[in-house]
């Protein structure tokens, strides 16, 4: 109540002023606030300007060529006369690369976020945080340079070995766990305590043999792959995944933190292990925040230009089969960046406007993603407040 009292005396001072001075002060305050509001609006409305000016330059393309060719054909020859503007392969390329990088970034990012929020002690967190910040800070062109100059030759010359190592590191522990759990689950029904251990052993050995066959078959399959070029969708997906990691980690860590202590302690009190607490209680509570993290990671990967321009191979073709990540692709962002150099002295032509049409598609997609992410986060906040 102390503060309220002081506030009252401050306002009491005002009463001593003459009516004119008071009026002047009020006017100055309103003016100041109006200026602030105006400046803020300019900053905020810049995004509407962006929408307007991109759409203004994109419309002539849609008006003269329509949407059908743009979205359903994949002949991309903008400089021919007459030009071909089939961008289907480019859309597919963008989608592939984005999907690949999300597949890299989201599992890793969520695992890292869980580890940061629930597993690691405070002191270890203090070391990991700067690592994430530095990963986020490295300029995209540096990532692109790495992808082109270091990673692409490595993939091209030693690709099979690199992929095989990755396969062993990822698949061997996963299969080992799967075998243990399956062995346990399969013999769960046996009641007799004397029969159970040998039955479990037998089941585990059986599943283990199956897993070993699967592992070796996978390794053989990888050995049989031919990697023609190192600048391909896989390269770009991995690097973009690393770039999107910091976003995913920090947003999902915030969501996990927001789930609160009481949920965790309630779960522990019921006898759940840490893994069960997180998987069954915390992750569902934070699911919308994690969805938002995935959305923001997707936006980051989709909107990235330099890495894909430098290291995706820039071939406007749909890979065959479509999940073949070892083929070069071309993305929307790289096309805008690469083709504008030739198109900007033919301002007003379809070649110029088609790039704005692509920009508009990117803009619309990231706008929608942003809206979803924001809505999801707001909903989670409401839910956690218990409304």
């Amino acid at each position: 109540m102390q503060t309220l009292h002081i506030g009252n005396t401050a306002r009491g001072d005002n009463l001593i002023l003459s009516a004119r001075a008071r009026w002047r002060r009020k006017l100055a305050g309103a003016l100041g606030q109006g200026t602030l509001f105006a400046v803020t609006s300019v900053a905020a409305l810049a995004v509407l300007f962006i929408f307007y000016f991109i759409a203004r330059d994109a419309l002539p393309f849609f008006r003269s060529r329509g949407l059908v060719e743009f979205l359903t054909q994949s002949d991309w020859y903008p400089s021919k006369v007459p030009g071909h503007f089939g961008a289907k392969a480019i859309f597919v390329g963008s989608a592939l690369v984005t999907l690949g990088s999300v597949l890299v970034a989201v599992p890793l990012g969520v695992a890292a976020a869980v580890c940061l929020s629930d597993v690691l002690p405070f002191s270890a967190r203090q070391i990991v945080k700067p690592v994430i910040e530095i990963l986020a800070a490295i300029p995209s062109v540096a990532y692109g340079f790495f992808a082109l100059v270091v990673f692409a030759p490595l993939l091209q010359d030693q690709g099979n070995r690199v992929l095989a190592i990755a396969w062993w590191i990822l698949a061997a522990p996963t299969l080992f766990l799967l075998v243990m759990v399956l062995g346990d689950l399969a013999t769960n029904g046996i009641k007799s305590p004397r029969l159970r251990p040998p039955a479990r052993l037998a089941a585990t050995v059986l599943f283990g043999a199956g897993a070993a066959v699967l592992l070796l078959a996978g390794a053989r399959g990888i050995h049989g792959l031919t990697i023609v070029t190192g600048t391909n969708a896989l390269n770009v997906s991995i690097i973009l995944g690393i770039m999107a990691l910091p976003t995913v980690v920090s947003v999902s860590e915030d969501a996990l933190q927001a789930a609160g202590r009481d949920l965790r302690e309630g779960s522990y009190a019921l006898g759940a292990t840490r893994a069960e607490t997180i998987c069954k209680t915390i992750l569902p509570a934070a699911s919308s925040g994690i969805l938002a993290a995935a959305m923001l990671g997707t936006m980051r990967a989709l909107g990235e230009t330099m890495v894909v321009w430098m290291a995706s191979g820039n071939a406007a073709q749909i890979p065959s089969p479509i999940y073949n990540y070892l083929m070069p692709v071309r993305t929307l962002t790289a096309t805008i960046a690469g083709d504008m150099g030739e198109a900007d002295h033919v301002t007003g032509s379809d070649r110029y406007h088609v790039l704005f049409a692509m920009g508009l598609c990117l803009l619309a997609f990231s706008f929608v993603c942003n809206l979803i992410a924001e809505w999801v986060v707001a909903r989670q906040r409401r839910k956690l407040r218990g409304e």
Binding site: L120, S140, F146, N188, M299, G303, T333
Partner: protein, 514 residues
């Protein structure tokens, strides 16, 4: 499930998390290590005498007298090579002379063949090119051989033997001298060439070793395995020049190259400020670094005041309502716009619509970059303002300060470190962004700008030139060190800014804890 399996799963779960974090750390290390390791090579490297010559010729640095003495000593080391070249030419002309004499003997006959030989000889003497002379001689001996006369047999065989002996070295002599020039610079009787890259030998010892390998071995591709890709094969160049005066050159180059180039560990710190010579073959990255500095500074000048004002509004004045939440949505949408779209917008709006400059310029690029980092600045400043303890504000109000005065004299100073952190981080972002400046500010080659030219002129910038040199340069492999140097400089700047931010933040939290 049994308890032991549950425990196993629990452990596995934790280790997955740790694995993810370790992987992240490894990724960071894998990306930064080659950058810094090879990037430092742009600044510290074993520079040869050619580097010191360039420094003196192009930038006027170094001790002329000492350099002259050094050049003398390298010339002495190179002399045997040049002597071998002269000896080879002498050997060639002696052999050709011998062959011509034999052909003349063949031509001393009265019949039609004799006249044809004479004519051919006249043409051979008029020819300058050694290879063509050999071809003509070969055809001449073939013509006589078809007559099948026993008395000409000796001379014909003599000519054929000389042609056979000289043909292989003569064919490869051009590539030989080219490889030698690449290594040591112009040879004694070469004509002067204009581009600096042809006027000097290898300036860096690491490049010299690569070029030495290219000199000693001929690279070719083996496509015999039709199913796979071509295989690279190296054959010693020496085999092409067996039994000629050039053969000892290979040993000389292999063993005495160090005396010919005199490599010495050099710190080339002015790589950061020197202009580039001959499309980055020599010199430094001064114009690029300056361009990045201008662009970043311009973006900050635009974004910081605007961002802080908007943050003050959001943190202090805005009452929750539809307008404010709309404005907030706009800011977060702005944060999500892809960077290349900012570039398109900069082109369509700043350059084509309001025409801040006739074409690309630093100004247009700065405005675009400023817009890009605006949301970051707003968010950081707002958070910093909101983190100021309520008591500060209440105390100021209680002392009779108005709202405006409270913000200016109490809130802003208290929030300053936090705001500074945000500014420093977004500075790093502005310095590193490439996509927004491609259409608005960046050029591949250009001189350093005066401050007065920033409103009208485009500029080279580190981020753009990394892309450009790594993908579009005519000799990408020759200038890897420059590319790595640029990447290291850019990453170094950005990391330095971030470390500063982390340091400021650590200080704040220490201060808040008392």
């Amino acid at each position: 499930m049994r308890l032991s399996t549950r425990k196993l799963l629990d452990r596995a779960f934790s280790s997955v998390g740790v694995f993810a974090i370790v992987l992240m750390g490894l990724a960071l290390a894998a990306i930064l290590t080659p950058m810094f390791q090879r990037g430092i090579g742009a600044f510290v490297f074993r520079a040869t005498v050619e580097h010191r010559r360039q420094m003196l010729d192009l930038f006027g640095r170094g001790d002329r007298a000492a350099l002259t003495a050094e050049i003398e000593s390298t010339r002495a080391a190179r002399q045997p090579v040049f002597d071998a070249l002269i000896a080879y030419r002498g050997e060639q002309s002696a052999a050709i002379g011998e062959a011509l004499a034999a052909a003349e003997r063949l031509g001393r006959r009265g019949d039609l063949l004799g006249r044809r030989i004479q004519r051919a000889l006249d043409r051979i003497r008029a020819l300058g090119d050694f290879k063509q002379r050999l071809d003509m001689l070969d055809r001449l001996q073939d013509m006589v051989r078809q007559q099948n006369e026993p008395e000409t047999r000796a001379d014909v065989d003599l000519i054929a033997g000389i042609v056979r002996r000289l043909a292989v070295p003569a064919e490869h002599y051009g590539a030989f001298t080219e490889a030698l020039r690449d290594l040591l610079g112009p040879l004694p009787r070469d004509e002067e060439r204009i581009l600096p890259r042809f006027r000097y030998g290898q300036a860096r010892w690491d490049r010299a070793l690569v070029k030495r390998h290219a000199f000693l071995f001929v690279e070719s591709w083996d496509y015999s395995d039709a199913s796979g890709m071509g295989r690279q094969v190296f054959t010693p160049r020496r085999t092409l020049f067996e039994d000629t005066a050039l053969e000892p050159v290979f040993d000389l180059i292999e063993q005495n190259l160090e005396d010919m180039l005199k490599p010495r560990l050099t710190f080339y710190g002015r790589f950061l400020t020197d202009h580039s010579v001959d499309a980055h073959f020599f010199g430094g990255i001064g114009p690029e670094a300056l361009g990045t500095f201008y662009l970043t500074l311009g973006a900050m000048l635009f974004a910081v005041p605007l961002g802080i004002i908007a943050a003050i509004y959001f943190a202090e004045y805005a009452r929750p309502g539809r307008t404010v939440s709309l404005l907030r949505s706009c800011v977060s949408t702005l944060a999500g716009v892809p960077s290349i779209v900012f570039g398109l917008f900069g082109l369509a709006f700043f350059i084509n619509t309001i025409r801040v400059s006739p074409s690309k310029s630093v100004l247009a690029g700065s405005l675009t970059l400023g817009l890009l980092i605006l949301p970051t600045v707003i968010r950081a400043a707002e958070e910093a303002l909101l983190a100021v303890p309520r008591a500060y504000k209440e105390a100021a109000m209680g002392l009779g300060a108005g709202r405006w005065r409270t913000v200016l004299t109490v809130m802003l100073p208290a929030a300053l470190p936090g705001i500074l952190t945000g500014i420093v981080i977004s500075m790093g972002r502005a310095a590193g962004e490439t996509a927004p400046i491609i259409f608005t500010a960046a050029v591949s080659v250009g001189a350093a700008l005066n401050p007065s030219e920033v409103f009208t002129h485009p500029t080279p910038a580190l981020s753009w030139n990394i892309y450009n040199l790594a993908t579009e340069h005519e000799a990408v492999d020759e200038i890897r060190h420059v590319q790595y140097g640029m990447v290291t400089t850019l990453v170094g700047i950005v990391l330095l800014l971030n470390v500063t931010a982390i340091w400021i933040r650590a200080r704040i939290s220490k201060k808040l804890r008392g």
